[in-house]
């Protein structure tokens, strides 16, 4: 690593270029780690290992958000996803007991693999689209730096996107009422209900 940096310095590159190269290699490494972790999620037999790999994947994605100038979203990703949602998953796994699933190579799995491979190739075709004329916004990193990432997002959320914000709060309310009614009133099969 040090020799590599020395080589870079000896090429007489200025500080910005070296920093850009370092950032690009960091994005590459963390992106590859995220892909490997997501492979671990679907290939582990036991759900608890899948949950741990998913936490790793989310932390990698939070680091990538940091590298793409979205500090607030990175914090939200760690707190909400890797914290709250995954703790919920781990509680449910602990409650239901994790049974290892035996794996077999069936025809259905092969069909699914070929279908998803085709989907992946189609998604990669979006990389082959050439440069289009971008519609650039106002929020350059310098502008966002001045007010801070969380405040910039708050201003944007409460001015231009207030309707979607209110709808999201309504959605959370509906979800809370829904899970209370699902968890509190236990389901009885129909034959037991008609008997009494």
């Amino acid at each position: 690593m040090m020799e590599f940096l020395d080589q870079l310095w000896s090429l007489n590159m200025d500080r910005e270029t070296v920093f850009g190269l370092f950032q690009q290699s960091l994005v590459f490494i963390i992106g590859m780690t995220a892909i490997l972790a997501s492979l671990g999620v679907i290939l582990c037999a036991s759900p608890i290992y899948s949950a741990l790999y998913l936490i790793g994947n989310m932390v990698c994605l939070a680091l990538l958000f940091l590298l793409f100038n979205a500090e607030f979203l990175a914090v939200v990703q760690v707190v909400v996803y890797a914290g709250a949602v995954m703790i919920l998953f781990l509680f449910i796994i602990a409650l239901l007991g994790s049974k290892e699933e035996k794996r077999e190579l069936s025809f259905q799995n092969f069909t699914a693999l070929s279908f998803v491979g085709l989907l992946f190739c189609e998604l990669l075709m979006s990389m082959m689209v050439g440069e289009t004329k971008p519609v650039l916004g106002q929020a350059t990193p310098e502008v966002v730096q001045q007010v801070g990432s969380a405040k910039a997002i708050g201003i944007e959320l409460f001015s231009n996107h207030i309707v979607s914000f209110e709808l999201a709060s309504l959605l959370l309310l509906v979800a809370a009422v829904g899970i209370i009614s699902l968890a509190k009133f236990t389901y009885k099969p129909l034959r037991k209900r008609t008997r009494t």
């Binding site: 690009q24 994005v27 992106g31 995220a34 892909i35 997501s38 999620v41 679907i42 759900p47 899948s50 998913l54 994947n57 994605l61 990538l64 793409f68 979205a70 607030f72 979203l73 939200v76 990703q77 909400v80 949602v85 919920l88 998953f89 449910i92 239901l96 699933e101 699914a112 693999l113 279908f115 998803v116 989907l119 992946f120 998604l123 990669l124 990389m127 971008p134 650039l136 916004g137 106002q138 929020a139 350059t140 990193p141 966002v144 997002i153 944007e156 959320l157 996107h161 979607s164 914000f165 999201a168 959605l171 959370l172 979800a175 899970i179 699902l182 968890a183 236990t186 389901y187 099969p189």
Partner: protein, 99 residues
């Protein structure tokens, strides 16, 4: 390097999530695969909001996180209810509604 790499990582994680949703039989792992797919889309939105100097992508990702949290909570409650009534968790054997 740049937008192509963001597209590649996002497409890879999305396809892996789709594959996991189809081939796994445990509903918990299927939900984790859905989370993977949502995260891939979030990454794409945030990467492009950084390239285009716009905050709209980040707002969109924030709303997606809210929807994903609500969806996970409701889904896990449904899984818990299914486990209470049937005492097993295998999506191939939950076929009462199958015509």
């Amino acid at each position: 390097m740049g937008s192509e790499f963001v597209l590649f990582v996002s497409a890879a994680i999305f396809s892996i999530g789709a594959l996991g949703f189809v081939i796994r039989k445990n509903p918990l792992v299927m939900f984790m695969s859905v989370e993977l797919m949502l995260n891939a889309v979030n990454f794409l939105l945030i990467g492009y909001s950084s390239f285009l100097n716009s905050l709209d992508g980040q707002i969109f990702a924030l709303i997606i996180m809210t929807v994903a949290a609500a969806e996970v909570v409701v889904g896990l409650a449904i899984i818990l209810t299914i486990f209470r009534t049937r005492h097993e968790l295998d999506v191939d054997r939950i076929n009462t509604l199958k015509g």
